[in-house]
């Protein structure tokens, strides 16, 4: 469903991605691991359409459509979702209002009827409960005054409500204690199925004990240096990035 071919991208004329090739078939979860500065977050931002990044070469198709030609909101409507590494605070925007606006925008784009406030709250309360989030989370302003862990859980809540077909989780595990990590992993696993794919970006193997990927790719210096099954994550944990990158060169 996701096809990346020879993708290169730069920010402020500094090249970050240097020829990425990746295929994520429908229903699969792929992990992307790599050291700091290897281009993991850049890949996530380029796929979701952030304007500061300039694609200098290559192509990305999503269900056969040219993803790079689409606006961020069109990508979301097509079923793409990015769980941010650093979720953005929106003072003055209520979380429930934000989530309902987003859900209804997606429903409109699919030709479905919009949910009213009552219908939406019923859905949202069920999800907050499942993610063990306090009730007032929906009433508060988006991410304002949230702890690091609450922000990450709020990302997973959005994902659970918006039901993407492809989720990109950008270091969703960072800043989480082990209990929160399990809750977040459960939230992702609950979505797994033939119509859900994910790119799980992480620095550590720990998350992959809970979200077991179909494939693992190692990113270094803006290109993939290794790909393999879930066992690759353990190998990486044992050898470290430096060891593994040295082996491949």
């Amino acid at each position: 469903m996701l096809e990346i071919r020879g993708l290169s991208a730069a920010i402020e004329e500094k090249p970050i991605l240097q020829g990425i090739d990746l295929t994520v078939p429908q229903g699969e979860v792929h992990a992307i691991m790599g050291p700091n500065g290897s281009g993991k977050s850049t890949l996530a931002y380029v796929l979701s359409g952030r304007e500061d990044y300039v694609v200098t070469a290559g192509s990305v198709t999503f269900d056969g459509r040219d993803l790079l030609a689409m606006a961020p909101e069109e990508r979301a409507a097509a079923g793409l979702f990015l769980a941010f590494q650093y979720p953005v605070e929106l003072p003055g925007v209520g979380n429930a209002n934000f989530l309902r606006t987003a859900l209804n925008a997606l429903r409109r784009s699919r030709g479905e009827s919009e949910l009213d406030a009552v219908q939406f709250l019923k859905l949202a309360r069920a999800e907050t409960k499942r993610l063990a989030m306090p009730d007032d989370m929906l009433r508060r302003n988006v991410n304002v005054g949230f702890s690091g862990g609450e922000k990450k859980r709020n990302e997973v809540l959005q994902m659970a409500i918006l039901r993407p077909r492809l989720a990109i989780l950008d270091e969703t595990d960072s800043g989480l204690d082990i209990d929160a990590l399990k809750i977040v992993a459960d939230g992702v696993n609950a979505l797994r199925g033939p119509d859900f794919s994910a790119l799980v970006i992480t620095h550590y193997q720990r998350l992959l004990d809970y979200i077991v990927p179909d494939r693992v790719h190692v990113l270094s210096g803006g290109r993939f240096v290794r790909s393999g099954g879930p066992e690759l994550a353990h190998e990486l944990e044992a050898k470290g990035y430096v060891g593994m990158v040295a082996e491949t060169v």
Partner: protein, 421 residues
Amino acid sequence: MTALAHTGTAGFLARYDTLRDRLPGDPRQRDAAADAFRRAGLPGAVSGRREEAWKYTSLRPVADASFLQPVTSLAGDSTLIGRLPYIDAPRIVFVDGQFRPELSALPPAVEFSRFADRAEYGMLARPDSEPLVALNTMLAEDGAVLSVAGGVDAGLLLLVSVATDRAAFHPRHTIHLAPCARLTLLELSIGDGSYLHNPVFDVQVAEDAALTHVRLQDEALSAFHFSTLYCEIAERGTYDSFGLNLGARIARTEAHVGLVGAKGIAHLNGAQLLGGVQHADFTTVVKHVAPSCTSRQTVKNVLAGRSQGVFQGRIEVARAAQKTDGYQMNQALLLSPDAEIDTKPELEIFADDVKCSHGATVGELDSEQLFYLRSRGIPDAEARSMLVRAFLAEALDAVTHDAVRGVLESAVEGWWERQAA
């Protein structure tokens, strides 16, 4: 009906000469105002003459506009009335400055008379120093004379102005709250075409009384709106105002508030949302005369297109006004590189035990916030509107009356749709 066009300072003076013997009010006061207006003219209309109080706002376009006397047609007013927000409350409706009983529903707990029947200029207005107040005093034909008796909570009252093309009118409103009285006044100004709405308010808040004054200026985009308000607050009295400026080609809302009794409270909050070539000026003068009073001002500007916003805020603290607590904040969100904000805060403090602060911020919409919303599927225009509303939320939260805040919120949404169109 014959219609005579008049333009500029001379045109207004000629109109006064025609109407002089038919106008309500004390002719000596009117003549004095006419002299003051003749001397001052419309601010900015004569090149090379620039008053400090009108540094950022020129009324040259008003001097060049022509207005009709008398107004020929009121036919358009019924569709205009239909445009007013629905809110269940008594209302006093003026069309082109004339009271219209058949459109009004008089309030049970507020004494009301027309300025046309009971012409009172009030004690506070200063035609000598304010040219537009002079113009108003000279030509005022009608207005609302309102008073709330001691201890009465009069609830919500709407004061509505509806205007039609090429009208020029100068309503004179006086509001008096007796001790312990309460009133929430929602002022709505709408219209069609190019016209001049130039009201003057004289507001007296007695001991322990509280007036909440919410103002929605949603005039036609080719109209002129100049409002000058004078208010005096006695001991423990409260004047809590919020002005939302959305309409008019050139607007100025000027307020002079005197805290003359101890422990009085004045809130002069507001928001200005402008686009196109609109110009709006929010000018306040707060005089802390008595000790232990509080004044609060938060004014937010959202400026699109080539619009220009002005904020001039002056706080004066007299020697006797110890324990004054004054706060002033002006914030602007510039949605276009051609929009402009001019901010002039002034503090003049003669007492030594006071707390006074002021600040100003100017910025654009945050690109990270915008991307976050769009990445969730919210279209760009809707995402921008959410962020603007978020910026305004803090300001609108100052309006505690739910139905009244609802009116302002719908007006803000309407403004945004207009910008997107």
